[in-house]
């Protein structure tokens, strides 16, 4: 039975083509050859800080609403008006959703205390609920910036507390 399993695994390795040779800590005396990088994928639209996240939301919300107007559409990244495809609007909405989803992580990766962190997360949940219906593939509901923007302002109030002391000065 163990031999069968080892044969299966050998087969699995060859089929899946894994060939990374990242070092395990026992390999300390060896030369290393890196066939493939071990990656943690970070999307291009991921903000660096909580303040950056709030800026991104504030910048994207009006653009998303504009794209609701007939003839307007979005490309999904910073150059929001470049594309004329319907997929662009969907991508931009998805990216907006991603950014809202990063609120807990970036709030935790800041100087926010527990109460403020929880406030940020709660606002994030409200944001998610507010535009959830616009996200579906068949959705016809327009993006409603009037509902979204007050919530973004709530997040903006937390930005000073989120920054390092030297950044606040």
């Amino acid at each position: 039975m163990p031999w069968c399993c080892i044969a299966l695994i050998s087969c699995a390795i060859s089929l899946s083509g894994c060939g990374s040779s990242a070092e395990s800590h026992e390999d300390e005396h060896h030369d290393e050859h890196h066939d493939e990088h071990l990656e943690h994928f970070v999307p291009a639209h991921k903000p660096n800080t909580f303040a950056d996240l709030v800026d991104q939301l504030a910048k994207r919300a009006p653009q998303l609403e504009e794209a609701n107007q007939p003839g307007d559409s979005l490309s999904g990244s910073d150059s929001l008006s470049d594309s004329d495809s319907g997929g662009g609007h969907a991508t931009a909405l998805q990216e907006f959703s991603d950014i809202v989803g990063w609120i807990p992580e970036l709030a935790a990766d800041s100087e926010l205390m527990k109460a403020d962190f929880e406030s940020a997360v709660a606002t994030g949940n409200k944001l998610t609920a507010a535009f959830a219906e616009t996200l579906g593939p068949q959705s016809t509901k327009p993006f409603d910036a009037a509902t979204i923007e007050p919530l973004i302002e709530e997040l903006r109030k937390l930005v000073p507390q989120s920054q390092d002391r030297k950044d606040r000065m």
Partner: protein, 513 residues
């Protein structure tokens, strides 16, 4: 090449043996308690033999007792001798090693605790369905009930437990245990170093299938399996593969498979294996998408399975013996050797008994008729099954109490992680990947203990605290990769980030719990 494979086998075999020793000792203790305190009849009653609750009881007892898949071997052999049906025995064998209080607590701090609870529920489904079908197909799988002799009260009864454990430790149980360890040794001999880092990515639809092939020879203690699940969740690897790892990696080993075929024959053994693998794979693909962590960016790799590959790659500057010795010194803490010495002593006592008392005169003396009168006033004769239940409950309580020692208070954890933090950051500053990885793993481990320790003492852990620890772990892993890629600028930035994250985490766990 052959030398590297030999030392790969020896290294993985030895490390697994040391990790397994405490659980194996518990297994021999439980088997001896069943034999001498319960006896065959009461053991059948304990496991509900012949009742509808038998499979559930086997699952529950298995979940509560701190045994691993190797420690389960003496217990299932004792259950077999007691005349319990195969389905119930195999239900215990499968569920016993999956969880214990220590590992369950650890699992609940993972990013998706619901996944761990779902895995536990799925394990009940597996043992129930496989057990029911198998028992229906083979209703007469139990051994005939044999007469047993009672043991005298008092010190003789205690001595009887010791001799039963000693004799069992030199019986076929030992061979099955060694066979179980042989599986992980063979993986260490044949699977190229670090070659499993991409096999179980979330986007590989065959990941659960591959894991099924690897998981049976794998040996993992409940804690190790849980920490590997943690790494798989952290990297958003295949959840189906993680489930298979838990059920088969922690729950099965080649020793149990060999015992199954020897006791029940080729046909019944194969049917049980086919039933088990079909249901496990079906459930694995069933939970793969629903339990996929939603708030994690998937990585294209995992380090969880590096420990099952060859420990050495390429030419060494020292001998393999020296490299193995160095690895064992670094990876095994001094206190981890003690259970192995105790296990060795147990085997030695069994060998002495086998040589000095071939005709089992000691057992005949122990089984002499118990005295009718007891000497002291107020003294009472405690029935064996009561002692047995108390002993098993004691093991469970001990493992729960052990949680408080294994997971210290947040203050103690933060104090204890200082060495690991300094080690990891200093190693990164000097761009030493080996040391960075070594200390980062220990630093990472302390952050998990910090979470569990806080959860144990406060009854809850907020998202705020979970995020603080998780961010630090993610940054540590990125640091390790950047050191490996020799990105000095990125390393310097990360060191500053990690220091900040550590201070925030300390503040959160010291002042905001």
């Amino acid at each position: 090449m052959a030398e590297m494979m030999f030392w790969g086998f020896a290294t993985r075999f030895t490390v697994s043996l040391i990790q397994a020793s405490p659980f194996i000792l518990v297994g021999f203790a439980v088997a001896a308690i069943l034999r001498r305190f319960f006896g065959y009849e009461e053991t059948r009653k304990l496991f509900g033999e012949g009742t509808r609750s038998a499979l559930f009881r086997a699952w529950l007892i298995g979940m509560l007792l701190p045994v691993c898949s190797l420690g389960a071997i003496p217990v299932i052999r004792e259950m077999r001798r007691a005349g319990i049906r195969g389905g119930t025995i195999l239900a215990f064998a499968m569920s016993g090693p999956l969880f214990n209080p220590l590992s369950l607590l650890y699992g609940l701090t993972l990013s998706e605790p619901i996944a761990i609870l779902s895995f536990a529920a799925c394990s009940l489904v597996i043992v129930t369905i496989v057990g029911l079908i198998w028992d229906r197909m083979f209703p007469h799988s139990a051994l005939p009930i044999v007469e047993e002799k009672a043991v005298a009260y008092g010190y003789r009864r205690m001595l009887a437990v010791g001799t039963a454990a000693g004799r069992e430790a030199t019986s076929a149980s030992l061979l099955y245990i060694l066979l179980g360890l042989g599986g992980v040794g063979l993986l260490g001999a044949f699977i190229p170093a670090n070659s499993l880092q991409h096999t179980f990515n979330y986007d590989n639809p065959l990941a659960p299938l591959y894991m099924t092939g690897m998981a049976i020879p794998v040996y993992a203690t409940p804690m190790l399996a849980m920490s590997q699940l943690g790494m798989m969740f952290q990297h958003a690897n295949s959840i189906g593969a993680a489930f298979v790892l838990l059920v088969l990696g922690a729950g099965m080993n080649p020793g149990i498979v060999a015992w199954l075929y020897r006791e029940y024959g080729f046909k019944r053994g194969t049917i049980w294996m086919v039933l088990l693998l079909s249901i496990v794979l079906g459930l694995a693909y069933g939970v793969d998408r629903p339990l996929f962590p939603k708030d994690i960016e998937p990585a294209n790799h995992t380090h969880a399975f590096d420990i099952y590959c060859q420990p050495f790659s390429g030419p060494l500057t020292t001998s393999y013996f020296e490299a193995t010795k160095l690895k064992l010194e670094r990876d095994i803490s001094p206190f981890e050797w003690r259970p192995l010495w105790i296990f060795g002593l147990l085997i030695l006592s069994g060998v002495i008994l086998q040589i000095a008392d071939r005709s089992s005169k000691l057992e005949q003396w122990l089984e002499a008729a118990p005295p009718r009168q007891i000497a002291g006033r107020g003294d009472i004769i405690v029935p064996g099954p009561v002692l047995g239940l108390l002993s098993l409950a004691g093991l469970v309580v001990l493992s729960v109490v052990g949680c408080f020692a294994y997971y210290p208070s947040p203050d103690e954890c933060l104090e204890a992680m200082t060495d690991a933090r300094v080690g990891a950051l200093s190693a990164a500053l000097s761009m030493d990947h080996t040391e960075t990885k070594y200390w980062s793993e220990r630093y990472d481990d302390w952050t998990r203990k910090l979470e569990v320790g806080a959860y144990l003492r406060h009854g809850e852990l907020s998202d705020y605290h979970r995020w603080k620890a998780r961010l630090l772990r993610e940054q540590l892993e990125t640091l390790e990769h950047e050191v490996e890629d020799e990105e000095r600028d990125e390393v310097m930035k990360l060191i500053a980030r990690i220091s900040r994250s550590h201070n925030r985490m300390s503040h959160a766990f010291r002042d905001e719990l």
